[in-house]
């Protein structure tokens, strides 16, 4: 056996202990690096944009003059877009989840649909944009209106809603449904009156989180072709529209020409982040307050 003198041994142990302590601090720094970056980003955005936020900016129309520009149109556009995305994804997502969890026999078809859904979740958002451009804007000839954008966005976030709803339904213990069957209820009655109410908080949390993804998503809408032009406020889902991220995009591109546009972009980012913060907090509140642990 390889014998070490006591001195060598001490030296080696010291080295190992030093490495151990040293690496711990490196690992810790890595974990906190993200937080540091986030803090810098927020400080930067707020200092750049807070000066531009006032009631005129929030309620005004877009304008070619930076000092007169407002984002009411983009706020309304985001609102109308969500009015399409939320019901469509909730309906399709929850229905698909019910089918997969309650009706489908475990077999090839189910695992095929399941694999398909997780593959769809990995498709880049810009590819959905091309699908939307081709199918909704061109083939169905809707043009670049709220409905076309909303349907495209719905397809994009659908995999997230389906998976979240599936998890929510799966977490309902079987004794609840068995008790319902035992009282003579049919399958659909059980789903309708027992499972869905119990799974609702989980489903809503997932749906809200995926909506917050849709609100910040830009790429598919760029592809569909949201104009940088000054368009009237959208009043229905058949109107042309712009949304907050699109406005950030155009103003960031213009920032190299006119410096004030960077401030407008930052101010719009603040509005967008506040909206996201409210949505996410709502999701967390619903999860903590209404979700029962069975």
């Amino acid at each position: 056996m390889n014998q070490l003198s006591e001195k060598q041994h001490m030296k080696r142990t010291k080295r190992r202990l030093f490495l151990n302590r040293f690496s711990k601090s490196i690992f810790m720094l890595s974990a906190f690096f993200g937080l540091f970056f986030l803090a810098v980003l927020l400080v930067r955005v707020v200092t750049e944009g807070i000066g531009s936020i006032n009631s005129d900016f929030l309620t005004g129309k877009l304008s070619t003059q930076p000092e007169r520009a407002g984002i009411m149109g983009a706020i309304l556009g985001t609102f109308w877009l969500m009015l399409v995305v939320a019901p469509v994804t909730m309906f399709v997502g929850v229905s698909t989840a019910i089918y997969l969890e309650m009706y489908a026999k475990k077999g090839r078809l189910v695992s095929f649909i399941q694999t398909n859904i997780s593959n769809l979740a990995g498709v880049p958002s810009i590819v959905y944009g091309i699908l939307g451009l081709t199918v909704f804007v061109r083939v169905l000839d809707l043009g670049n209106i709220v409905l076309a954008g909303g349907l495209t966005m719905s397809l994009l976030i659908l995999p997230i809603v389906i998976v979240a709803s599936q998890e929510a339904i799966r977490s309902i213990p079987s004794y609840l449904s068995e008790a319902s069957y035992g009282l003579g209820a049919t399958k659909w009655q059980t789903i309708q009156r027992i499972i869905l109410p119990a799974a609702l908080p989980g489903i809503l949390t997932g749906a809200i989180l995926s909506l917050s993804r849709a609100i910040g998503e830009t790429a598919p809408l760029v592809v569909i072709g949201i104009p940088a032009l000054l368009i009237p406020f959208p009043g229905s889902i058949m109107d042309r529209f712009t949304v907050l991220p699109m406005q950030i995009y155009y103003w960031t591109l213009d920032a190299s020409l006119v410096a004030e546009y960077a401030n407008l972009a930052a101010a719009t980012i603040i509005v967008l982040l506040v909206a996201l913060f409210i949505l996410n907090s709502t999701a967390i509140i619903i999860r903590n307050k209404f979700q029962r642990v069975f």
Partner: protein, 317 residues
């Protein structure tokens, strides 16, 4: 004693009730039969989406390759879609995509992995409970915000250190994209490492190993499949990322290894073409689909690899 004799009126009522009940039952039965059919139709929408994506891409891509030879597209180093003599080589775009993804992974892989090690092996439950959600906030920030940050803050900052850096370059969006991917890698790797059973760690501690040695020689090898899968998914995410590179890397179709230059990625090219007025039916228009198809295949292959890796090499404890 209970009187078992019913009056005539009572009998009629019960008959009615049974009839009513049966009628209700038959409606209910019909609903019970229709609901699964209805749900199956809706569930097949996800398959329809996949078919829709592949069909749209394939249809127009075939049209593109009727005009531009397959080999010219995949070996061409010049992309000049709008010039008099247009050339459609995809290599400049591939170069941009690969370069930006590599830069992103150079940031995200080490930092994400080390953050995962800290969260899984070192942090107290209390710290983990705070740090993890905040790290996930980073993943929730819209990519357009990262794009803005890369373009208006990171690039000017880097230009102080790297004199030759262009106003639009591939380095800055690559770095920012890396930060964006950190939470994804950290969270997936942490899941893999947390699922390594404690008995394995304790065995190594019993032999006198330090925490670092346990992590390096026991936990990471045991969780390797999950860690690799998280890296592959990170690459796939970087390849598909659009807004950061579109804003901060510009639209110069450079075929170069110089990361201080502007380079266009596949995603940014799609944005440029759809944002312009490429007339439907022109070769430029079809090139959009060929590039999108390449992008789609790239990310699909990455996702399949990630799934295969985490399935095949998963050790059961």
């Amino acid at each position: 004693m209970i009187n078992h004799e019913f009056t005539k009126a009572d009998k009629v009522n019960i008959r009615d009730m049974i009839d009513q009940n049966q009628r209700g039952n038959s409606i209910r039965r019909r609903i019970e039969r229709l609901i699964p059919i209805f749900l199956t139709v809706i569930a097949s929408l996800s398959i329809l989406t996949t078919i829709g994506i592949i069909w749209t891409l394939l249809f127009e891509t075939v049209e593109f390759f009727k005009r531009v030879p397959f080999l010219d597209f995949f070996t061409g180093t010049v992309l000049k879609p709008l010039s008099q003599n247009p050339e459609f080589g995809v290599l400049p775009l591939l170069m941009g995509t690969v370069t930006s993804s590599l830069i992103a992974m150079a940031v995200a892989a080490p930092i994400g992995l080390m953050a995962a090690i800290y969260l899984s092996e070192y942090a107290s439950p209390k710290v983990r409970k705070v740090v993890k959600p905040v790290l996930e906030l980073l993943a929730g920030v819209p990519t357009i915000v990262y794009g803005f940050f890369a373009f208006t803050f990171v690039t000017p900052l880097l230009r102080d250190f790297i004199p030759g850096l262009q106003a639009t370059n591939i380095l800055s969006p690559g770095l920012v994209m890396g930060v964006m991917i950190i939470p994804m890698i950290a969270s997936l790797s942490e899941d893999a490492m947390s699922s390594v059973p404690n008995a394995m760690r304790e065995g190594a501690y019993g032999l006198g190993a330090t925490k670092l040695e346990v992590t390096r020689k026991v936990v990471i090898p045991a969780a390797l499949s999950g860690i690799i899968a998280s890296f592959v998914l990170g690459i796939s995410r970087a390849i598909g990322e659009t807004m950061i590179v579109t804003i901060a890397s510009g639209s110069t179709k450079n075929f170069t290894f110089d990361i201080t230059q502007s380079m266009q990625t596949m995603t940014a090219y799609i944005v440029e073409v759809t944002g312009g007025d490429a007339a439907a039916g022109s070769t430029v228009y079809y090139s959009l689909y060929a590039v999108a198809m390449t992008l789609f295949v790239f990310t699909l292959v990455m996702n399949l690899i990630a799934r295969a890796v985490s399935k095949k090499f998963r050790e059961e404890y």
